[in-house]
Symmetry: C2
Subunit: 83 residues, 2 copies
């Protein structure tokens, strides 16, 4: 049972990993030091993870990566807004 | 077979997702806009993913998250070096 909790905690921490970066962008209104390539690379990665999740029929992988993609879309939008 | 390639591409893109951020830190020698919380949150997440991978006996999950942890350790070290 504790392993399920560890798996859920791992998924939540990484799925919402860019939320603090989004909050920092909004606070400082500056993105000079943020790597846009990192944001696009993660976006491409989580799209492929979601497709892979659909292939193996794992709803957790699908959901986690769709949510991560939404946070990355917000981060990329803010990047272009504040750059 | 193509699904294996998609899975491998997904893993490589996200495992090495912070490498462009590391290169940008080294280039600009500035980390003012980078979220340290995001770096620590991903670090905690990939450690839990690696533990979860050990539990379910998946060597790909273990290896990908150990490599990701190494890149995050480098990113955090550079953050404190350049802040």
């Amino acid at each position: 049972m504790e392993w399920i909790i560890i798996g859920i905690a791992a998924a939540l921490l990484t799925t919402f990993g860019f939320v603090p970066q989004i909050l920092k962008m909004r606070k400082t209104r500056s993105v000079k030091d943020v790597s846009l390539i990192t944001l696009f690379q993660f976006s491409a990665g989580v799209v492929l993870w979601a497709l892979y999740g659909m292939h193996i029929g794992d709803s957790i992988i699908i959901a986690a990566n769709i949510v991560a993609f939404i946070t990355l879309t917000i981060a990329i939008s803010l990047y272009f807004h504040y750059r």
